[in-house]
Subunit: 234 residues, 2 copies
DNA sequence: CCGTGGTATTATGTATACAATCATGATATT
DNA sequence: AATATCATGATTGTATACATAATACCACGG
């Protein structure tokens, strides 16, 4: 008898939530797009109720903006907004590696090394999607090693807004050599349980990310301005 | 003509959310209490729909726990749980004062001093509720000075779980002299824009809070154990 | 041609109805 | 007496219906 029976029940709101989130992060729903309940309901084959609940969840995560009596729309990514998120993430990423230095098990260190190697292999493929995925995995190992559930879920939700820029960030990083070097430095520091070096490395790591993402946002905005001035293709 | 007309519309879900949150934080709904939709709806005079949406929001903030097909209950506060939150808050509080050192305006400094003085006056009243309120105000000034909206909302939601212990924490702090001293130290550091000292002071400030809250949780748990062994009054 | 007002449409806010599942308890059987 | 099974009630999950506010469009007047 399959014992997984009660656990695998997924309320519609959750699958709707996942679907909407995916659509936003991949850019299928661009920033500013209105999210209309009946429309989404028809598209996904469910009623308005689960849609509403999913939208409430996305709102709490900052992926959608709600205006009472007007509805929900995909949140705009502004430079200020992203800068705020990155500022917080910098502090939390540093906390992650510091805690990891204290608490990581030998098994965790082995996982970390595996993730590092997997990332370096991914870099060789030169496929942004593969690299991005390996990068996420690498960070997840560190975050899990902290054993702090609240920190884990926070990191998760703070990463979301940036996924919209992750591919460009990966592509942008000239040569990826820096990324590999930074990862190696972090792994070494954690293995030696040297929190100070680890914190420094993690800080630089996200500072680089920040520069790349901010540049990307400015390019996007410039493009939008051009479109507004000279008419956008449609 | 009163211009505040469109803004003051509050959907029921929000007022329900506020009401439930208040009930949880003040202990009216103790940890473990089941939150049943029809029951709450009757009590508050609304239908299930706004109740459900409010509960979803509370879940995202970690104040209630949901089990599919079984319903929602007020989240248990475990020592691990609170420890995780405090660990994160420590990092974010330090980030707050560091950013405040960089960015606070002269007006902000003046507000900060006012809040400090108000807190010291509140201490003299010896009324825990007044002191707790002044303490919150003091921290809010610092948090606002960072100008980081994401940080502001995160600090807000991470403070929530601790409000259930705030009064005891205030009462517990022997003499409150420490609190006054710590606040003064933080204000001085921010005024001189000395991020290092400010960070150190903020760290100690929350470490003290941590000790007090953990002690409180252990006392609560002990009491519960006694009740379970010898029968609880009802 | 522009502005104002009114109406119609659309989308959200809220309530209620229906379906599915879980818990509880009673009854019957071993 | 203990356990198993079925029935009943209660509670959540989902869908739909109704009310209300916002928007868009058109007509009318200046």
């Amino acid at each position: 008898m399959p014992k997984a029976k009660e656990e695998d029940f997924l309320p519609l709101r959750d699958s709707v939530y996942n679907k909407l989130r995916q659509s936003i992060l991949t850019g299928e729903f661009p920033a500013g797009e209105r999210l209309m309940e009946v429309h989404l309901g028809d598209k996904l084959g469910v009623s308005r109720t689960p849609i509403r609940e999913a939208i409430r969840m996305l709102e709490l995560e900052g992926l959608v903006t709600m205006i009472p009596r007007k509805g929900a729309m995909v949140a705009q990514i502004t430079e200020k907004n992203m800068s705020d998120v990155l500022e917080v993430r910098r502090a939390l990423d540093i906390l992650c590696v510091q805690l990891a230095c204290e608490r990581i098990t030998s098994e965790g260190i082995s996982d970390l090394k595996k993730a590092r190697d997997a990332f370096e292999k991914a870099v060789e493929t030169n496929d942004s999607r593969v690299i991005a995925q390996a990068d996420v995995e690498f960070h997840n190992v560190i975050i899990s090693a902290t054993g702090n559930d609240r920190l884990i879920s926070l990191e998760d939700s703070l990463s979301l807004p940036m996924y919209r820029y992750r591919y460009e960030y990966i592509k942008d990083s000239s040569g990826h050599d820096n990324l590999v070097k930074e990862h190696r430095r972090i792994v070494n520091a954690i293995e030696k349980r040297n929190a100070e070096i680890a914190a420094e490395a993690a800080g630089e790591h996200i500072d680089n990310q920040r520069r790349s993402i901010i540049r990307q946002i400015r390019m996007d905005r410039e493009e939008e301005t051009m479109n507004a001035l000279y008419g956008k293709r449609k």
